[in-house]
């Protein structure tokens, strides 16, 4: 797919792969409110980066800066090693052909057929008609819409429209695909199929993808790396599974609240911070730590020491990410500390959330 094949392709991807996107200290203000407040970010070739944040966090501004739809006030933005800050509309045009974009509301031209929509970037690039229609059919095949070439967008479902959007974004063989809330207008099932398609394209074509979203599930299902943005700043960044396993920033925890087990509300409501019949403890384990038979071993070492309250094991990027809540009886005050010690020795992160005053 890529036009530049160098001798150094034997290197492992990601850590050493070339940076497709590099942002250093990017600022953008609307009036006095900062939309981007010193963003630094690097995206490597072949990687899928999920940028997540609440609405108004600056994620839309961020992604629109990457193809010059939005201009930063200051900072450095490089696409494939070329700085794009300060380029005028005309100078941005060749760059934009290297960057495809898909949108929440698809943004397909209602007056054009599906194949004409897909071929439009090539028409703009000056490709001859037969060639661009050939390419359009090839792409419609790729996104599973070969039979819809002559249809108008209005006759398609939301998921089909987004498939056309994806085909169109790929038409000019971009190095980077930007996804601006591409699944936010779709139902959960369609969302899954669109995400699967994006992942498939990422693997097949080695395409670098940056997707912005407010849904953790989107990040979880296809991203390699996640960047959490809040008030125009990247507050947390890392491998998806490790951020899911150990979210540091409060905003990340809050965004994750729907995706990881939470202490049931009726129990949380009656917790006392100081004393009670049982100590409620949260246990977070990920990677190797979550692979052993932790609870069986704990039970063997300290019989009758705990009961399971809630939790489960998730698998993200093929890594187990476990989060459990246990209750430890307080009749023997030393027991709680022994349990905590045992778990810590197994590399689990533990936290005493409080004491249940009312357990029968």
């Amino acid at each position: 797919m890529n036009s530049i094949v160098t001798a150094s392709v034997i290197e492992t991807p990601q850590a050493t792969a070339e940076a497709v996107v590099r942002l250093v200290d990017v600022h953008r203000h609307f009036g006095t409110t900062p939309a981007l407040d010193g963003v630094a970010l690097t995206v490597h070739k072949g990687e899928i980066l999920g940028v997540i944040g609440r609405s108004g966090a600056g994620k839309s501004t961020l992604i629109r800066c990457l193809n010059g739809l939005e201009r930063p006030d200051r900072g450095l933005i490089e696409i494939e090693g070329r700085s794009i800050v300060g380029l005028d509309e005309k100078e941005l045009q060749p760059l934009r052909r290297r960057v495809g974009m898909i949108f929440q509301h698809f943004n397909l031209l209602a007056s054009r057929t599906v194949e004409e929509n897909v071929a439009l970037p090539l028409k703009i690039a000056g490709v001859a008609k037969t060639e661009r229609l050939r390419r359009a059919h090839e792409l419609l095949e790729l996104v599973g819409l070969a039979g819809k070439a002559k249809a108008y967008p209005s006759s398609l479902s939301g998921g089909q429209k987004q498939r056309v959007g994806i085909a169109r974004a790929l038409a000019a063989r971009p190095a980077l695909l930007l996804s601006d809330e591409a699944t936010s207008a779709l139902d959960p099932e369609t969302t899954r199929s669109i995400l699967a398609l994006l992942k498939d394209i990422n693997r097949k074509l080695g395409l670098t993808i940056i997707l912005i979203t407010h849904e953790m599930e989107v990040v979880r299902s296809i991203a390699d790396r996640v960047a959490v943005i809040d008030a125009g700043r990247i507050v947390e960044e890392g491998q998806v599974w490790s951020v899911f396993a150990d979210p540091k920033a409060p905003i990340t925890r809050s965004l994750l609240s729907g995706s990881r087990p939470q202490l049931p509300e009726h129990i949380a409501a009656r917790l006392s911070p100081t004393s009670g019949e049982e100590a409620i403890i949260s246990i977070d384990m990920a990677g190797l730590a979550a692979q052993g038979a932790v609870f069986a071993d704990l039970s063997a070492a300290l019989p009758q020491s705990f009961r399971l309250v809630h939790g489960g094991i998730d698998h993200i990027q093929n890594q187990p990410v476990a989060r459990f809540f246990i209750a430890v009886p307080m009749r023997d005050p030393a027991l709680k500390d022994k349990v905590l010690q045992f778990l810590k020795a197994r590399s689990a992160r533990v936290e005493v959330l409080g004491y249940d005053t009312d357990h029968v």
């Binding site: 193809n67 949108f103 509301h105 031209l109 439009l120 690039a125």
Partner: protein, 217 residues
């Protein structure tokens, strides 16, 4: 109705069609680019320019404020310059076109302004320039509205052309005023109104069918 009256009716119909058609065509040729210019230079447009936008808007509003009958008389020197005479059917086309152009420009502006900004973003993101946006997005996407607006303009022109009788332009309206109203010839009046109804319905029907074919929303 006498054969003479019948011939007069036919001639008037032709004059109306000529005046409406010619001035309508001119208003399309000048009004559409003018409407486009208004949208492009508007705040948030792809060629934002408050000065040009303000000046164009003021000129358009100026022409639209003048009652047509006044415009008809006020434009006599201009008409004479262009057509060579200030009287007759051809002479009426000049003031009709000048009145219809700003009218149609506003109608076209409304249609063009309703094109989703997201589509413009999408084409900019593909590397399209302003010309691409006009050619590939604004005009094709607004086309059903542009055509529907043109139909409205034509029907309005049929009405306005009645006043052009004041400078001897003829036409159905003039016939109705002189024979039907001033000479109390009810038959002529009824006949003219019937022809006008058929004409207006015909134009509207054609316009609607065309919009139906163009609209893929």
């Amino acid at each position: 109705m006498t054969p003479i009256m019948f011939n007069l009716l036919l001639r008037s119909l032709w004059e109306t069609i000529l005046m409406t058609g010619a001035s309508g065509l001119i208003s399309l040729v000048f009004g559409l680019p003018l409407g486009l210019a208004l949208v492009l230079t508007n705040k948030g447009g792809i060629a934002e320019n408050a000065w040009i936008n303000g000046i164009l808007g003021a000129i358009i509003n100026g022409f639209r404020s003048v009652p047509f009958i006044i415009l008809l008389v006020a434009l006599i020197p201009v008409t004479r310059l262009i057509v060579g005479t200030a009287l007759g059917t051809w002479a009426a086309i000049v003031p009709l076109a000048i009145a219809a152009t700003p009218y149609y420009a506003r109608i076209a502006e409304v249609s063009l302004r309703e094109v989703d900004r997201g589509l413009i973003d999408a084409v900019r993101a593909m590397g399209g320039n302003r010309w691409t946006i006009i050619r590939e997005v604004l005009v094709p996407e607004a086309l059903p509205g542009i055509v529907a607006g043109f139909t409205v303009t034509l029907v309005t022109l049929i009405g306005a052309s009645a006043m052009a009788g004041a400078i001897g332009a003829g036409g159905l309206g003039d016939l109705a005023i002189r024979y039907g109203y001033q000479r109390f010839e009810t038959t002529v009046m009824v006949a003219v109104v019937a022809v006008l109804i058929v004409l207006v319905c015909g134009i509207q029907w054609l316009g609607d069918r065309l919009v139906e074919r163009l609209d893929h929303k």
